[in-house]
Symmetry: C2
Subunit: 669 residues, 2 copies
């Protein structure tokens, strides 16, 4: 009886999320996008983003078809159910859908937010934040609905878990392309635009004469909206799937409260997020407004989760496991804020180091980036042990669900960033005047801090989700009656650990090198346009389209190799040795977590050190210190927006690939 009642809640929550998202979308689209110039700029950005997305979808389609074929073949020869191919496809489609909706609205709201600021600061904030909310709620809504559909449809199937893993694998695949491709796109445009524009020609950021400036604005959307959304969609569904699978693996039936519980908790998170979205209002301080929303949703969620646990579970232990994850996420967010905010000591130290040149500034940034791993890693290690103490491996998966529960609002905060950034760009390019420019810049400044916090959160949640998936994998192997020897004294496990720990370095090397190469092409093109078209002398007009094409082509070409490595490595190692594969996953998760935080925080700290100087400190704009800080900022760009975030996907994807293809590995034993 109870089972019947409660299992309605998750899909209901999902549908509510979609309806509220639609409401926010309507709210944004009903606003004026300003004058003709603003609309033109908005349309250019929107078109550029959609072009990239469509081109990307073509490549993804090929990938999806190949993988589906592979899954069908494998399911023919092994115990893998053929429905895995279907759930894979749906997972990919749902992830793509969420990203598409989010990006469509984001690229329609930048000019509207800038125009809204005319009315009042708080009105502009509402428009920008509402567009972020569309993304946040689409992701959680589609995530819960998707998992629920497959859970219900195959509740009697003995291979329910594998089918769910297929859904996660689909989500992972989209995320990989979106994060890697989007990351390369955004930074090749940004670095290219900065080097020739800011450094060589000495024109300001977002100057419309810079041919790469639209590509740069498009990049913010494809990287930080579509990429971030797909990344967190993956973490979100993976954490739910892992806990359902672990509940079954540790002995609960598919209909037991323990098995539905993760979905219920996700539903509570959705309700909390929706309520807290209304807290994000302020005429003065956008940062405080968002913090109110984030903390508010966490508190509401904790209460709802407590009540849910009390009425559905035998004791409160799972609630504690969830709480551990929630608190871990908050700690990671606050630690990230400390190491990357220009109000705090670390960034100020980097800024001071830039008075002795770019080299010392970079050394200081590297040092601070590496130091910043301390709190997130320690907190997550402790969280894992605590969650495990409460409810074993299932508890670890619940901690991941807890951390991601309020994703509806935290993702809204993340996606707000690029919209505000674009709004600032449009107000500059459309020459909306000093006052509006200043207000949109204030919106943007908050976006930088929330973006850094969002990145820390995305990494932390990826790490704990990957851990849950690894534990799920080991339990699945044991369940299949195969003896695993994953002791560290086993050389195969240690070798797997070494190679796994190596992969994030190789992956980062590839993505960073890709940005370098693509950026050099962009630099050449911008230099050519400046020279041949005489743009700076006021003669010709910049050819934005060409720059967009270069970024698109570069990103799509460069993303293939990293993707292939991420998918094939666990496959090959798993066929050779399941023990080594577990070592590989553990090594990759530990090293990927560390490297991702180091890269993301170093990059954000360099960015904000530059902003700190630009706001008038240590000589301000144009000083030698500022020039040094610009170098640091540019180096940090691919670190924080390409290589770092891509690692989130790498560690989750390799684990989910291992889970999906376990029947294949068993066949090769």
């Amino acid at each position: 009886m109870l089972d019947m009642d409660i299992s309605v809640i998750p899909p209901l929550a999902g549908v509510v999320a979609i309806i509220v998202a639609a409401y926010f979308a309507h709210f944004v689209l009903s606003k004026s996008a300003g004058n003709k110039r603003m609309k033109e700029l908005m349309d250019s950005i929107h078109r550029g983003a959609m072009t990239f997305l469509n081109e990307e979808y073509k490549i993804i389609s090929v990938f999806v078809v190949v993988v589906m074929a592979l899954l069908l073949v494998v399911s023919h020869y092994t115990d893998m159910p053929w429905q895995t191919a279907v759930s894979f496809l749906v997972g990919a489609i749902f992830s793509g859908l969420a990203g598409n909706i989010g990006m469509r609205i984001a690229t329609k709201s930048n000019a509207r937010a800038a125009e809204g600021v005319k009315k009042s600061f708080g009105y502009g904030l509402r428009i920008a934040f509402s567009s972020g909310a569309v993304m946040g709620l689409s992701v959680v809504g589609l995530g819960v609905i998707g998992v629920y559909i497959f859970y219900q449809a195959f509740i009697d199937n003995a291979s329910l878990s594998t089918i769910l893993f297929g859904f996660g694998f689909g989500a992972s695949s989209i995320a990989l392309f979106a994060r890697v491709g989007g990351g390369i796109y955004t930074k090749s445009a940004d670095v290219g635009a900065d080097i020739v524009g800011k450094v060589e020609a000495g024109i300001p950021e977002d100057d419309p004469r810079n041919p790469a400036v639209i590509a740069d604005n498009v990049g913010d959307n494809v990287g930080d909206v579509a990429g971030m959304g797909a990344d967190l969609f993956e973490s979100y569904v993976d954490s739910i799937i892992a806990s359902i699978a672990l509940a079954i693996l540790v002995g609960y039936s598919a209909t037991a409260p323990e098995t539905v519980y993760p979905l219920l908790i996700a539903a509570m998170g959705i309700f909390s997020s929706i309520i807290a979205l209304s807290f994000v209002r302020s005429e003065k301080n956008a940062y405080t407004a968002m913090r109110n929303g984030l903390f508010g949703s966490a508190i509401i969620f904790a209460v709802l989760a407590f009540i849910t646990t009390h009425y559905t579970m035998p004791n409160l232990d799972p609630f504690y496991a969830i709480l551990v994850g929630l608190v871990d996420g908050i700690i990671i967010g606050l630690a990230t804020e400390y190491f990357t905010s220009d109000q705090r000591l670390p960034v100020k130290k980097i800024a001071e180091a830039s008075t002795t040149g770019a080299a010392t500034e970079l050394i200081q940034g590297l040092s601070i980036g590496m130091m910043s791993v301390f709190i997130p890693i320690l907190a997550t290690a402790v969280a894992m042990i605590l969650a495990h103490n409460y409810y074993g491996v299932y508890g670890v998966a619940l901690a991941a669900v807890g951390m991601l529960s309020t994703l509806g609002i935290s993702l809204a905060t993340d996606c707000y960033g690029p919209v505000a950034d674009n709004a600032a760009g449009i107000s500059e390019m459309a020459e909306m005047g000093e006052d509006i420019r200043k207000k949109t810049e204030d919106l943007d400044a908050v976006g930088n801090t929330t973006a850094a916090m969002g990145k820390g959160f995305a990494i932390g949640s990826a790490a704990i989700t990957a851990l849950a998936l690894i534990f799920t994998f080991v339990k699945s192997v044991e369940k299949a009656g195969i003896s695993v020897n994953i002791s560290l004294i086993q050389p195969e496990v240690m070798a797997g650990l070494f190679i796994g720990a190596m992969l994030p370095f190789i992956f980062s090397a590839l993505t960073m090198g890709a940005v370098g190469r693509a950026a050099e092409k962009m630099v050449d093109e911008v230099r050519r346009q400046f020279k041949e078209l005489g743009i700076l002398k006021g003669k010709g007009k910049p050819d934005h389209e060409r720059c967009i094409k270069i970024a698109t082509k570069g990103a799509l070409r460069e993303m293939i190799l990293p993707v292939v490595i991420a998918v094939t490595t666990p496959l090959v190692v798993g066929i050779l040795s399941i023990d080594a594969l577990v070592g590989l996953l553990a090594g990759a998760t530990a090293s990927g977590f560390l490297l991702a935080i180091f890269l993301a925080n170093a990059g954000a700290a360099w960015d904000n050190a530059k902003k700190y100087i630009e706001s008038g400190n240590l000589g301000g704009k144009g000083s030698e210190a500022h020039k040094a800080a610009v170098v640091g900022d540019t180096v940090g760009d691919p670190c924080k927006d390409t290589s770092g975030p891509s690692l989130n996907i790498l560690i989750k994807l390799m684990s989910i690939v291992s889970l999906v293809f376990l029947p294949l590995f068993i066949k090769f034993l």
Copy 2:
């Protein structure tokens, strides 16, 4: 009978090594050190280096006394034999002695090598290389003699292994101080000298007007001679100790051939090195000469090891394990050469990226540094599995012995670098003319490549030695009758892994930050001297002593915290949970290995990209590309000479601390 015969060989080899070292020392010291100016410069460098060493010894003495007291207390309450305190002391003294001898000769041979070049290029090469040979042979000679003494003295003691670990711990402690302190010293001087001298004042490298130039030359010696020597002394004795201990742990008696075998193999390595030292002669190409020496020694060693194995062991399996290690070392050396030589694609790519500015140059360098981990990690993972297949965990320790066997000559090659560097500096400062300057620069250029290869080798040998120590630790725990559960599904092990993998990042953050801070002080002092003394206007003379004091003080103060972390972390974690400690050691070794190679190779590649441009490519000296490359070189300095190498010590030290204090951990169970 056989046992009696063969056990004489190791101490004999050790004594021969010392005698040959004395011969080379005599050879070097008998040569002329040139004119008065050259002698003055040499004496300044020598005095500066010795001052640092003496100050460092004071701090180390305090540390040694504290640790000895701790060991005596622990031995009183646990099963640890009190002799461990003695072997610890002797290990520390032997390591210090080897470093002292090597550095004394190195700082007496720079001017002599420069003067020798007057006679002929090959003569200068012989002098510089001979001084390196003094270091190389002192290290292996004292290493083998030290281990042999304790092995023989306590051959009937049930705790023989623990006493030997004490010796390794002593060596580790000196290495930690020497590497961390020396690394901070050398780079704070170098970075400080470069920023104000090369970048701001536009005067050349080694310009005598630069007040920090002597400190920079001193730094080369304390970092790359004393630091490198102590590092490899530690790896060398640890690998021998680990294999002796593992032989006993897997069931052989203390007098069995298997137990003496590692010492015998080390002896063969000494003989091979001594023979091959004579190959290093050339009037034209110093690089080819050294490569002949390195490959020659490897071939001779392989033959001797084969014969030794054939006559002392039941089958050839241990020989294969040793060969695996030897080949792994060569592969790592060649891979390092590929990624850091200015004749190869990676460095050329970095140089090309500098034409679009410092930022792209740095991004490219980061990317290539990360990519360079691929071959060393893969080769070492494969080597570990192969060696284990031949002879179990004992085989892995033998692989480490094999890799380090020809240390006598490979360390000579490493220590040649700073001598040649100093010789070039002296020829510039003493204005010995274009021709001599050119020849000493040729000597120096080879030194850069061999130094990079030496670093790669030092890291690789540290990693495989650490692995051998970890396996020794696990076997020791099992032997003590304690059940270890080091499966990766155990959350404590996974948490240990996470925290262990984090430590190299924190350690690097501290050492890199230390260089940044110390360099800023140096920059301020050099700026002050330029301004107040009017050095550049030819008025006053630079105050070198002050800069030496700043570097010394900075290094000594900044090395304390990293050292404390390295020693106490395994102690605390081991007392809490032995399982977590194993995870910690494995995580630290994997992540430390990766980070060390990344940092070392990125640094060396940036260095050589700058040299590539300076040799006339892409605009040559003074071009915009050159300026960008100088930034990259400066950022790379602490990466390759401070943070990277310090990690070698971290991973070995934590393992040996765990082994020494195992009786304490058992007490707390």
